[in-house]
Structures are given as C-alpha cells and as structure tokens.
Symmetry: C2
Subunit: 245 residues, 2 copies
C-alpha cells in the first residue's frame, strides 16, 4: 500500500474539513495500517452489542447508524459519507449500543484501536481532532432531535437534505448543485420518524415548490436559499471549517 492511499486520503480530507493538520500529521495518518473490506448493501458493518477492537473508516458508499425498538421499528440516527468513522466511539465505549449498516455496497477500512491509540500518543492533536469529530457527531444528533421533536415533516425533510448536501460538499462529493443520494424514501422515513408514504408526499411538495428535483439517485438543488429557509437550516451545528477544494 502506498504511503498515502485513496483510503488514507479520504480520512485526511475529512479531518481537514473540520480542523488543521500539519504535514507531519498527514504523513502519520498516511502510515495508519488499514484493513480494507467490502460490505454488501443491506448488511451490517457492526451490530448492536458488539465489542469491536477496531473502527471503520468509510471509503465508498452510504452507511447509517440505527437502532431497533422493542416492537421492531427502526430509527436511523445518522447517515455517513466517505471519510467518516461512524464507530469511532467504540474506542472509549466498549459495547455498541446501536448498529452500523450499509445502505449501498460499501467499502470500509478497518483501523485497529491499538493503531489509533498509538497515533494519538505520537500526535495528540490528531486525537483532539478525532474527539472533535465525535462531538460534531453529537451535534448532529441534537439537531435531528430538534427536527423530530419540534419541526413539521416538510421542514424536517428540507433540513436533512441541506445537511447531507453541505456535508457532502465539505468532503468534495458534490458536483455543482448535484449529489448522489442513494437513500430510499422508506429509509428517509426511518431517519425522520415519518412513514414512507408521508415522506413521498412531502418530497413531491418540495419538488413542486421548486426547491429540489431528482434524476434517479441524483439529487439536484434548484433553490438553495429557499430550501435552507424551508428547513430552518443553519450549518453552525456541523462545525465545518473549510470546504474541500
């Protein structure tokens, strides 16, 4: 594996979107031992109850974190893009209290917790940056909580689309006002606390109101200011420092 592979680059680009890295730190990250694996759509990368000894860097594909309720309903709590390490928390929380599932076919690079501890020992500020990343994670949960608790379905969906677009843009995964969004309406419902049927109707409204359109799995933003307003969206909670080039 070259000193700085495609996989390492994903991680570096992500970390640079939320903070600063020196050349030496980038080089050290580039030397992280990675174990690259592929997961089929619909499979779990990590299950609730697992006690992992590694964390997963998403390299390609869309993943989500979710919990099942006692009566078999699903709540999706976050969507994750390439560059994210959704289960970084398992570094300090032994038992997974939720699952990590692949929405599309996903490539992930497994990083041993031991390697991370070593990296942080040599470069404490990388540790701080990763702590920061888990804090941003928490900020996103809080924002979703506001949405599900207090916003209308219309506003909630608009807000989520804004979030996904801004996060994708921060790591260079958008093309103009367009991004790949391989999430079904049923999954959107499980994320927003809505039924798939209602998601469908509200998406039609958002299209009719001229904010968005879609070609297959591609989302097109037609009116960004309008969508932001409809979603009461304020990107502060994402704590993004800078956009990818």
């Amino acid at each position: 594996m070259p000193a700085t592979s495609h996989e390492h680059d994903r991680l570096i680009r992500k970390l640079e979107s939320i903070g600063d890295l020196s050349a030496g730190e980038k080089a050290a990250i580039g030397r992280l031992p990675l174990d690259v694996r592929v997961f089929g759509a619909g499979t779990d990368l990590v299950r609730e109850g697992d006690r992992p000894s590694h964390s997963c860097l998403i390299v390609e594909g869309m993943t989500c974190r979710y919990k099942m309720t006692g009566d078999g309903q699903r709540q999706i709590m976050a969507f994750h893009l390439p560059g994210d390490i959704p289960d970084l928390q398992s570094l300090h929380l032994q038992t997974m209290d939720h699952g990590l599932g692949a929405i599309t076919r996903t490539t992930a690079a497994l990083i041993a917790h031991e390697s991370l501890y070593e990296l942080f020992r040599a470069h404490p500020s990388i540790g701080h940056l990763m702590w920061r990343d888990t804090l941003i994670d928490a900020a996103v949960f809080r924002e979703w909580l506001v949405g599900v608790g207090r916003r209308s379905a219309y506003s909630r969906i608009a807000d989520l689309l804004c979030e996904l677009f801004v996060r994708a843009r921060a790591v260079g995964l958008t093309h103009g006002d367009t991004m790949e969004l391989p999430i079904t309406q049923s999954e959107l419902g499980d994320a927003l606390g809505l039924s798939a049927v209602h998601v469908n109707r509200v998406l039609q409204e958002l299209r009719a109101d001229g904010f968005i359109s879609s070609r297959g799995r591609t989302l097109v933003i037609n009116d960004w200011p309008g969508l932001e307003k409809a979603g009461d969206f304020d990107p502060t909670y994402l704590h993004i420092r800078r956009m990818a080039a």
Copy 2:
C-alpha cells in the same frame, strides 16, 4: 478551598460512575481550580453562539440543554444532574450550537479550558474518561432520538423517567425508590416533543397503571420492572460502570 471540596467530589463521583480513577488522578482532579457561581432558576449558564473559555461542572440543581427553532419553539435535548459537565464539548467546539439553562437555582463550578488541557497532559487517562463522558452524552441523544422518532408518548415518558432515575442513582442522588424531580410538565413536553397537555394526561395514565406516583417534586417509583417494560428501557446506552455507594 480544601484539596478535595464538595465540588471536586461531585466530579470525582461522576467520573467513577463511568470509569476508573487512580488515587493520583483523584488527587489531581481535587486540585483543579474551580470558580463557583450560582445561577437563578430560568437563567442561562451558557447561550447559543457563545465561545466559552471554560466549562461548567454542575454542583447543585437541575439544568438542561436546549435549542430554539425558527418559530420560537423549544426543544430540550438533555437534562443534567450534579456531577455532569454539560458543555465539556466547548473544549473542542468553539461555538455553542445550543444553550445551557438552569431549571432550578443552580450552583456550577467553572473550569477553565486551560486547566483541563493541563490536567489531560499530566493524566491522559482522565482525558480519555472525559472523552468517554461526551460519548455517553451522544449515546443519550441517540436514545432520545429513537424515543421521539419511533415511540408512543406513553413509552417515551416512561423511558425518560427510567433514564433520570438510573442516572441519579449512579451518582448517589436517589433515596430508595425516590428522587427529586423538579421538572415541570411543560419542560417534559419540550424534551419529549409533546405538548404539556398531553404529558399531563400520559403521566396520569402512568400513575393509574401503578408505575409511579409523586409527592410534590418527589418522584416515587412504585413498579420498576413495569416502568422499564412500559418504556422499552435498556440501560446499556448509559454505559454506567458502577453505582455510587
């Protein structure tokens, strides 16, 4: 201030509920410089948009973290008990994306971020424990998300009562099957994404079903297994290691 004051004890007791501390670490925490302040009920300890240079250790009183939506509704995202440091995150996230409010008259000990950095440098494992604490925070947000997104009002309220009781017990704030719960029904509503009226009706149901009762601001658990079942409660997400003596 004595080497280990009441304020320091609160923090030590909290950290011991989620992990281990050596004698030396406890002593180091006992030497943390604290600036004790009192906040009236209904006032803010920290406001959305602030860029704090310290974090707040709650010593007495009930506090909450909340956000306001564009149309003036409030969503409470967490309740905090003595021993908690609700805005520990401001250590690595410059701008507060939500407020920290006092529900009752609250005593808080301000800890300069500088002091924390110094403590972590000398005792890295205290830093890890505090990282762990912010991760548990995030786990609680996730659990609330599941409740608000996918559970009935009845189940959601039962779940919240279970959480508060277990957390209070972990830091020694319960008396038998009783605890102080100075939260109004309107605040419960803002936390659970419900109207105060509906909270009232559901609380009556929970009392009628024999799970709980209340004397003034004191909550009494009459049927713990029943309440757990009603709330689909599983304490795993709290990641508590051990109960206070």
